[in-house]
């Protein structure tokens, strides 16, 4: 066992010899350091990548603030060490420690991982290993921390089911408090770890994988999931907050640079556009907005506390924020003297977006980003992002005429039914945009095309579709590389290997856990980093467990296939997704669902929440729904006092 004092003194000798030691010291402005023994419950919030990435994660910043507001709990931070620091830690036998108090992660009551994307999985294993915590849930006992995880990737928790004791599915603000409460009561009850897991499973939004067993068909496809515990919920419904709480303003200010070194303010959660490829758009429904006052006051407070020079107004589709013009005007008026730079990402392709950016007087250094995602109108109808080419060109003209010289265009290749002509159209469209720029500002005009490869995600209308094969991806990229050459044009793309990994893991089942473990054992880590990603290790890992990677990526799933993530209920019904997929095959689009409800399933599932929050708290239109019989389960657990508002539709 290492005491914090021992860890601190060993660090003295190590830090001078590693890159960016500022990642490993803690002690930053606004860090919360509580007396370790003054609280009942201690949580380590872990982002399983380096500090520079993890410090920019808004979700963990919110949880850190919320937990530390409790007098009976504390939250500290940990991030994965870069490889030089990892070697130094392993060499000196120092466990992965929290930045605040320098306790080993193994000393915490709860270790909570943020898993927003799949390429962090091996890093999460590595973090557990560095802390000396057994990787497999089944190997952990009462002396070990409870290991939980949340974040968007956890909507398909199955690939990580063997390593995580309990997943949070959905929004963390309220559920984290309930998890702490349950943990405290369990501690007082002095019962075994199994009892803790069962109690956690009764909380709305918590999935405890060990209480279920997955069954497969002889052909390897998923058959069904079985409850091993009578009281475990099936399905597990995602957690939401009915109304967004006031934004967090208490951010830690790092001493070193990080990727998004700024104040993040979430102006809106969810998206009503229904782009069919978009995981976030499907799982974060319904749309809830914050008021302009709330956002402006939050910025004011956060500047006072942090002194940051940049604010990011975050949402999945900023242009759709109801009072976006009012917000932009209020922000630019209120803060213009403070030399703040305001970013407003995710704008729609329309000239109004250019007016918004103009009003923000945002420095034009970064270029103006538009994400048409596909270059032909046919393709954009399939993915349900219907924008006409003329509208895109008109927007481009507005951007160049207002003083921007660079337009960044984001596309994806590999959409369902994409042909090589659709790919050629990407190059043609980029050139057409550049030509508009040349007419307006001459040779200064620049187009940067970012072309990633589509990965079908679970819980979306494209969850059935196969990924492009390696060869298809290479051929499409070769075409783009040939066509997008010359002055004023720049192309970036993803390596097909990276795409494959994301694709395997996204729609993986429980058997994938063993692949992840075998890959980690062979040295896979930092899979999101070019300098570390080892495709060969993953292929070896698949081979070693006797699974075919193409089963997960290149197979077109029959329309009636049962998916291994279906017991996780995003409340967007499979019936809706199926219909939307079939519509896409016919090129049939859906309009913004604020205009017309397509009955995705949100409203009936959360009918009571909606009734309690009428009007425009949710952007869903008012629809007449007949009262659906709901059963409110009030679990009686060991402590007898947890009453989750778990609602299951009969």
């Amino acid at each position: 066992m290492h005491t914090p004092q021992q860890i601190q003194s060993q660090l003295e000798a190590i830090l001078p010899n590693v890159q960016k030691p500022g990642r490993y010291t803690g002690g930053e402005l606004n860090q919360v350091l509580k007396e370790w023994d003054s609280v009942q419950t201690r949580l380590a919030l872990v982002f399983p990548d380096i500090y520079d990435i993890g410090m920019s994660n808004l979700g963990l910043a919110i949880l850190y603030d919320l937990i530390n507001q409790r007098s009976d709990a504390l939250a500290e931070r940990a991030y994965n060490p870069w490889s030089d620091m990892e070697s130094a830690l392993r060499h000196a036998a120092i466990p992965l420690y929290s930045l605040e108090s320098k306790h080993s992660l193994a000393d915490f009551d709860i270790v909570a991982f943020s898993l927003p994307y799949e390429t962090l999985y091996t890093n999460a294993l590595n973090a557990l290993d560095l802390a000396g915590i057994p990787l497999f849930s089944t190997e952990r006992d009462d002396t070990h921390p409870l290991v939980i995880a949340g974040g968007h990737a956890c909507y398909n928790p199955e690939p990580m089911h063997a390593f995580i004791d309990a997943f949070v599915v959905g929004e963390g603000e309220d559920v984290i408090q309930e998890i702490i409460d349950v943990h405290q009561r369990w501690r007082q009850s002095r019962r075994g770890r199994n009892k803790l897991l069962k109690s956690l499973a009764t909380i709305w939004g918590v999935y405890v994988p060990s209480l279920y067993q997955a069954e497969y068909n002889p052909d390897g496809t998923f058959s069904h999931i079985e409850k091993l515990d009578e009281e475990a919920p099936l399905p597990v419904t995602k957690r939401i907050v009915a109304k967004l709480p006031p934004p967090t303003t208490n951010f830690i200010v790092p001493y070193i640079d990080t990727i998004h070194n700024r104040i993040p303010v979430e102006i809106m959660r969810g998206c009503t556009r229904g782009c069919r490829f978009c995981h976030a758009g499907m799982i974060t429904r319904p749309v809830r907005e914050r008021t302009v006052d709330e956002v402006v006051n939050a910025i004011e407070q956060a500047i006072q506390k942090t002194g940051y020079e940049e604010v990011g107004l975050l949402s999945l589709s900023s242009s759709d924020y109801t009072h976006v013009l009012e917000l932009v005007n209020a922000v630019s008026q209120r803060f213009s003297e403070q030399h703040l730079s305001i970013s407003l990402p995710s704008l729609r392709i329309e000239s109004f977006s250019v007016e918004l950016m103009d009003a923000l007087k945002d420095a034009r250094r970064g270029g103006f980003t538009l994400a048409p995602e596909a270059a032909t109108e046919r393709m954009r109808e399939i993915i349900n992002k219907p924008v006409s080419t003329e509208q895109l060109l008109e927007t481009a003209r507005a951007i160049y005429s207002r003083g921007w010289s660079t337009i960044k265009l984001y596309f994806m290749i590999g959409h369902p039914s994409e042909t090589i002509e659709d790919v050629q159209a990407i190059a043609d469209l980029c050139k057409a945009v550049l030509a508009e720029g040349r007419k307006i500002i001459g040779r200064r005009a620049q187009v940067n095309a970012g072309v990633s490869t589509f990965v079908p995600k679970p819980h979306t209308p494209f969850q059935w579709v196969p990924c492009d094969s390696f060869e298809q991806i290479l051929a499409k990229q070769a075409l783009l590389k040939r066509s997008l050459r010359g002055p004023g044009l720049k192309l970036t793309w993803n390596n097909p290997e990276d795409t494959m990994l994301e694709a395997w893991l996204s729609r993986g089942d429980r058997r994938m856990a063993n692949v992840i473990y075998q890959a980690w054992k062979r040295g896979a880590k930092f899979d999101a980093w070019k300098e570390h990603f080892r495709y060969d290790l993953w292929l070896e890992a698949f081979e070693s467990v006797g699974l075919d990677p193409t089963f997960y990526t290149h197979r077109e799933r029959p329309i009636d296939e049962i998916f291994p993530w279906e017991h996780i209920n995003t409340t967007v019904r499979k019936k809706f997704l199926t219909e939307d997929y079939l519509w896409s095959l016919r090129g049939k689009t859906r309009i913004d669902c604020r205009e017309h409800c397509f009955a995705c399933g949100i409203l009936p599932t959360f009918a009571d929440l909606r009734r309690a929050n009428p009007g425009d708290v949710w952007q869903c239109p008012e629809v007449k729904s007949k009262r659906i019989p709901v059963k409110v389960i009030q679990e009686s657990n060991v402590e007898g006092s947890v009453k989750p508002d778990l609602i299951t539709i009969q």
């Binding site: 000798a13 830090l15 010291t25 002690g27 070193i256 640079d257 020079e309 030399h339």
Partner: protein, 210 residues
């Protein structure tokens, strides 16, 4: 108004590099609600000029920065607000107003004085000091460029051991543009491995400040 602020960079900030320190100042000013002046032009940047970059990992008790404000404020008010707004590891020592037309701090810097503490004992420290002082030149390579360290050492002497019994030396190194001595190089010549020394800047010496 042009402020000249003397500050300490202590433990919590020893791994904050020069550029990040610059940004730390900008944020501190914003938290203190002081009207930091910005340069004119397409991409305005805050008018903050640090006298000298401190090598990463070193602490210091005398760093100097010039900061321009758009409006006149009382010095005591500025000092109070800066003290409240400064992050852990940045200690405000002195705040003065200086004439706007003074030459820039880096152009006036002449030398830096460092206190080097050896965490592991160096048995032949005295003879190494003697050899270093006597050497006509000490050829070293820094970032692939050869240079003579001896020419940059203006003074080098042993101090009494610290309260933990660790050996200490005080070295005065040239700190002119294009001729800046690095304290870790001196430590290395004397046998101190980088992870086994602590380096603390005690003084910045300027040609003439007023």
């Amino acid at each position: 108004m042009r402020l000249r602020i003397t500050f300490a960079k202590t433990e919590a900030m020893r791994y904050t590099g020069h550029l990040d320190l610059h940004r730390t100042w900008e944020r501190t000013l914003r938290r203190a609600r002081l009207p930091l002046a910005y340069s004119q032009g397409f991409k305005p940047h805050p008018r903050i000029v640090l006298a000298s970059a401190l090598p990463l990992g070193c602490t210091s008790q005398q760093e100097v920065v010039d900061i321009w404000l758009e409006k006149q404020e009382s010095l005591s008010e500025i000092a109070t607000r800066l003290n409240q707004a400064a992050p852990p590891g940045l200690g405000i020592i002195e705040v003065n107003e200086v004439a706007p037309n003074l030459p820039s701090l880096p152009s006036q810097l002449e030398a830096s004085v460092y206190l080097i503490t050896f965490l592991d004992p160096i048995p032949d420290l005295d003879s190494r000091l003697y050899q270093t002082n006597q050497a006509p030149e000490i050829p070293r390579v820094w970032r692939k460029k050869p240079y003579d360290l001896r020419a940059l050492i203006l003074d080098l002497q042993r101090l009494p051991d610290d309260e933990n019994g660790c050996q200490q030396i005080l070295v005065k190194l040239a700190a002119r543009e294009g001729a800046t001595g690095r304290p870790e190089e001196v430590a290395s010549v004397l046998g101190g491995e980088s992870s086994k020394v602590r380096i603390h800047r005690t003084e910045l010496i300027f040609l003439e400040l007023d």
